[in-house]
Homo-oligomer: 221 residues x 2
DNA sequence: CTGCTAATGCGACGAATGTTGCGTTAAGAT
DNA sequence: ATCTTAACGCAACATTCGTCGCATTAGCAG
């Protein structure tokens, strides 16, 4: 389960894609052309750089504007708040083509998921962690986060389906519960308890969940 | 595992205990007497009330000062920030005499822990959630949160020790892993994914962890 | 190229947020 | 009761944050 890819490279794309930033999605003809897209790319790149230097609690609209060379007012108008910037960064970094890796075993698939999550929470700066922080401050960020992970968990459910097809685990295994059992300890330990957690530990929680599923412990309801 | 008890009643104690607020813990003789303690009690009660009305993102020093009848400057001097207020509230609400309930079975003990956590995250306003939010903004809040939960998990380890004594689970069962497997899904689903999670769901994660431990899945290392 | 106008730039403004210096109050000691 | 001084109240100040009106720039259409 990936965190949003770290978006540095993705920022460049924005100039081409010209997706609509901010929030004003009125039905009229917009003007997503060159400059607007360039501004978005510059600003989001600046957000990422500021995040790397000062972290979430040191992230300000003014600093982002100054670094990007875009005027304060423009940033306020298009993104409204710091959290709005992070939401947009998350949206840009979200890889819609992502699907969980297929290793041939439930255990291997879960280990792979946990490694991606572990990387996304451990990397500095962690966009994932920043958006989590933002989600406690504005409903928009909370919704964006919720939507992102909901999508990821839904896509990941195929891992359990494949294991059922292979006969590894009971057919009535509760997919969401398996995923949560495997992944939740990483989030809890790394973002809430703020304790170190090695990749080996992440692997172990994945294996624990796989073994529990095989033992028929995680069957619905 | 309790969240800090909801501190309304505890606020009254402050006038008596007169624990030192804020952060300036210099070695000189302090003056924790009547007025200082009364101010602390008033302010922290106001914090709790404001939290109930406006939530964490609507919590401001000015509003707390106005409600408590204490001057802005005093609040800034003693607590520095909104997060400092929450840290102090957490410290006051922390029940040092807490020990996990003893039900006679590992499953029952874990269910009881999860119910306490579920309640602390579900109650409005949730001081626990507010402190989590604060922990993303200041290192002090992060440390306070870390310390609080570290203490709670250490105390809770006795639940696994008792189960081992009873012969319910293998002697080399990894206590921390059992606790995390049981409790992490609650935090993850309720505070990160922002999805509903019933008490019955909380119970089930507790039972899952107990069954996994019995099956020898959660043995050290 | 020319006109239209969305998007940006610009400066000024008001509000919210913290800070500082100094006078006042009251806790604790004698 | 009196003295000392930590803690608090107060007002003025500085800074940051977010908004507004208007001028300027630059997509896009014809």
């Amino acid at each position: 389960m990936p965190a949003p890819r770290n978006a540095t490279s993705a920022a460049a794309d924005a100039a081409v894609t010209g997706a609509e930033g901010g929030d004003d999605a009125r039905g009229e003809r917009a003007r997503p052309g060159g400059r607007t897209a360039r501004v978005r790319a510059d600003v989001l790149a600046a957000v990422e750089a500021e995040l790397a230097e000062h972290g979430y609690d040191g992230l300000t609209v003014d600093a982002v504007a100054a670094r990007s060379g875009v005027h304060r007012t423009t940033v306020y108008r298009r993104w409204r708040t710091v959290d709005g910037l992070l939401v947009d960064l998350l949206a840009m970094g979200a890889d819609d083509s992502w699907i969980p890796a297929e290793t041939g075993t439930l255990e291997g698939d879960l280990v792979e998921l946990n490694r991606e999550i572990h990387a996304s929470l451990t990397i500095r700066p962690s966009l994932t962690t920043a958006v989590i922080a933002a989600s406690f401050r504005t409903p928009e960020a909370a919704n964006a986060l919720h939507g992102f992970w909901k999508d990821r968990y839904e896509r990941s459910a195929i891992v359990i389906a494949r294991a059922i097809d292979r006969g590894e685990i009971p057919a009535d295994t509760d997919a969401h519960r398996v995923l949560l059992t495997a992944t939740a300890p990483l989030f809890h330990q790394l973002t809430l308890l703020r304790q170190d957690l090695s990749e080996a530990d992440a692997d172990r929680y994945a294996r624990d969940a796989a073994r529990a599923a095989k033992a028929g412990i995680l069957r619905a309801p």
